[in-house]
């Protein structure tokens, strides 16, 4: 059974419960579901919103490619990734990743792996909008995110 990852890039928010149900409904082979939700932080109430820009087409293709890699590498039974674009306010959702598998470690590793690659390899860019009305500039790429990829090298 080869199941394709479900990858969506959308402006709308997502419903984590409905997304889990899509992956698990009617199945009795799944023992472990790990979800990761990335939320917009307020940075000590200085941030009014993040604006997320993406490269349509390539964003879906890259995340699909990485998710397929994760499913194969960790033996996942299903994987969903939803990445939002547009203006997102503090405490709102930015990204959702779900990994399902028979046993827990594969689901943890699959979701963690996808997030590490998504942070540095998926064509999204974040701009800060500040509470005081200033353009807070584009978010710099973090070395820590690049370094996080190292843990997946065999």
């Amino acid at each position: 059974m080869s199941i394709k990852p479900d990858i969506r890039i959308q402006a709308e928010d997502f419903d984590i419960k409905a997304e889990i149900e899509k992956l698990t409904q009617g199945r009795t082979d799944i023992g472990a579901v790990v979800t990761f939700s990335g939320l917009c932080r307020g940075e000590g109430d200085t941030l009014s919103a993040l604006e997320l820009e993406h490269y349509p087409g390539m964003a879906e293709a890259e995340i699909t490619r990485i998710a397929e890699q994760a499913m194969k590498r960790f033996g996942l039974l299903g994987m969903t990734a939803i990445h939002r674009y547009g203006k997102i306010k503090p405490s709102e959702n930015i990204v959702l990743v779900i990994a399902t598998s028979p046993h827990r470690q594969a689901s943890f590793d699959g979701a963690n792996f996808l997030m590490d690659f998504l942070k540095t390899r998926a064509p999204f860019w974040k701009k800060n909008h500040l509470v005081d009305g200033d353009d807070g500039g584009w978010v710099d790429a973090k070395d820590a995110d690049d370094n996080a990829l190292g843990k997946w090298e065999k």
Binding site: E62, M115, K119, F124, K126, G137, A141, D145
Partner: protein, 86 residues
């Protein structure tokens, strides 16, 4: 050769456009040639090219790591800063 160039994030802002159709000079064979040519296109392009070491490229929506990569008969080249998704 006419090709579509696509810009994102602060490159898009600095260039004042998200995309353009350009006729590449014959001499532009590789990404590195493309960046050299950019430097001749005026102040804003020159300023952006000061960051060419960190600037990333996708040819027809596929990442390219090596600036020596040939453009060939690509239809779309995207140029953008390091990604900050997730």
């Amino acid at each position: 050769m006419t090709i579509k160039l696509v810009y994102f994030a602060w490159l898009r802002e600095r260039f004042g456009m998200g995309e353009e159709q350009v006729d590449l000079p014959e001499s532009v064979k590789s990404i590195s040639d493309l960046f050299d040519w950019f430097e001749t296109r005026g102040e804003e392009f020159e300023a952006v090219m000061e960051h060419r070491k960190i600037i990333q490229v996708a040819i027809d929506q596929e990442h390219v790591q090596d600036s020596g990569t040939l453009i060939g008969d690509a239809k779309e080249i995207a140029i953008f800063p390091p990604m900050t998704g997730g």
